[in-house]
Symmetry: C2
Subunit: 336 residues, 2 copies
């Protein structure tokens, strides 16, 4: 149900009855390793290309979530997913294996919450009994497509971020045990003129702020109403900018509850990540793994995930366009 | 509301209160020229790249539809759109100009109906007051990305199709005058092992048949219940295959009501099109222009549009993957 300009509230509160996070070798070295369901030591995941490896991880995430929920593939009505690969082939090939009706989505790194928002709407409107919402990315596949093959060892500036190798999915049901989706705020495209693909966090920060502001306005909430507000993959540079902008907007978000999935996923002993993690799998694995786990442990009751996406393409960059950005926010609640 | 396995019925029947179709110079020479709102003589549409031309046409389609409905941009809550460009930049840049909350979609040439199906669900669940659903493609931008730059003059086999240059959008409202969306069937990925990117119609035909069969099963309908069933862009080769397969399934679709947007859009005096039109704009412009016009003239009462998509990427083809395909069907009705 529409509330305000761009927010949905879900009266039935669809439940994340199961979720799964799959990661690669670099994620296995990070501080959230224990929150992954499966971690691969091999960046190729036993496949002959990085692209097939990404699709394989997304398939694994779907399988794990379906198994955790005690369901079969054919119980799931719809699969909503997207990724960074040209023509989102990682998702489409996983959808071929899954063989359930499929919505391909593209919101760059905001896809995880685009998927969860739409999936929750499907549930809330009784248009499905079970929905799988997912997203994936692969460091080597993404870097070679957007910038340089990682094998070149090209130098990266301090504002650069490290694309997460992994896949995250959430399985929604009308009832059951698990965090509930209470609402979602759909973002507008915001473009402040930044055109440096090594500085995505700065480009995306204003989009995150635009969506957070809209969410609080539409819902009549303020910063203290959540136990955690996590942006998708602004990294350290973008997170600082977003915090400053939110302060200027006077939203009163306490600094200790405001974090970013791109900061959480890698540790200070992983210097190659520069400003932090990024990629569709960043918010997908951190949310559907780490953050849902914290909710289930009772550490967090109300959470807002604000997944951010940079909607550029290598060609739009070459054609000297700036980077259009977007952020979608989903509110989750657990316990009474 | 879910009916059967993969079909939604929309009790409120969202109304297409306005629609728009924009085309390029080649579409202007075709038999449906009169059904376009705007036809450009210049393939670049006054822009400096084909990619910007595509985005411009999508923006124009949105503007025309909003104007026809007597609305302002800010009346529209959500824009759902996708295209064939890597990272769907045509849609994302149009969304930047439109500045309304945006869902990026990717279903290759099935995007037009993916967008209309989801948009109708947003309306039916009272999650929006007005929604814009769109899709676009550009011949020169697409051919250079998937196959060869058109300027090379590479020889094309008779099974090849001609990517439509254009954009089509539909503006949905809860009430008003216009064709109503009564239901939608969401497709599964079907892959019969075809890997030739010059023979997409054959690859997509089984996906179209899978979705049509599911629609009839879920809705308890048969072929005679529609005045027109139009697939998205199977072209002459794929259309023949789909007709044969449907006959084998015994669905009883009379040949005179079964057609394809890719056959309709170009005439026999346009031999370069080979097997017919294709691209996201094929089903988008033919449906939101020609077919809606025929409905409004009273020539068609009940119509089923089955937009088909080939979910390959140039890279998946190079990596010797076959072509996963999908089709989404939307049912439209006008008059009593």
């Amino acid at each position: 149900m529409l509330q305000g300009h761009q927010t949905w509230v879900f009266p039935t509160q669809p439940v994340v009855v199961a979720a799964a996070a799959i990661g690669g070798p670099f994620e296995a070295q990070g501080p959230l390793a224990d929150d992954f369901d499966l971690l691969h030591g091999d960046l190729r995941v036993g496949q002959d290309t990085y692209e097939k490896a990404e699709s394989k991880m997304l398939e694994e995430a779907c399988e794990v979530a379906i198994r955790k929920a005690g369901l079969q593939k054919q119980d799931v009505q719809f699969f909503l997913s997207g990724d960074l690969a040209n023509q989102i082939t990682a998702s489409s090939f996983a959808a071929r294996t899954l063989a359930v009706p499929y919505f391909g989505l593209y919101g760059a790194c905001s896809t995880s919450m685009e998927s969860l928002a739409l999936g929750s709407l499907l549930m809330d409107s009784q248009s499905a009994r079970y929905v799988l919402c997912g997203a994936s990315s692969h460091n080597a596949a993404t870097e070679k497509q957007y910038r340089y093959p990682t094998e070149y060892g090209a130098q990266r500036p301090p504002t650069a971020q490290w694309t997460v190798t992994g896949a995250g999915v959430a399985l929604l049901a009308a009832a059951g045990e698990g965090p509930r989706v209470t609402g979602a705020t759909i973002g507008r495209v915001v473009d402040m003129g930044i055109s440096d693909p090594y500085n995505m966090g700065s480009a995306m920060a204003p989009a995150a702020v635009d969506t957070i502001t809209a969410h609080f306005r539409d819902m009549g909430l303020s910063g203290g109403d959540y136990d955690l507000i996590a942006t998708g993959d602004l990294g350290r540079v973008g997170h600082g900018i977003a915090a400053d902008l939110l302060d200027q907007h006077g939203l009163g978000i306490p600094p200790e509850i405001f974090t970013d999935c791109g900061i959480l996923i890698y540790g200070p002993d992983q210097p190659r990540v520069m400003a932090g993690g990024s990629g569709c799998a960043c918010s997908a694995t951190v949310t559907f793994g780490h953050i849902l786990n914290r909710m289930k442990k009772g550490e967090l009751k109300k959470v807002l995930i604000v997944a951010t996406g940079a909607l550029l393409s290598p060609l739009s960059y070459q054609q000297k366009e700036s980077i259009p950005c977007i952020a979608h926010a989903v509110a989750l609640e657990y316990g009474r």
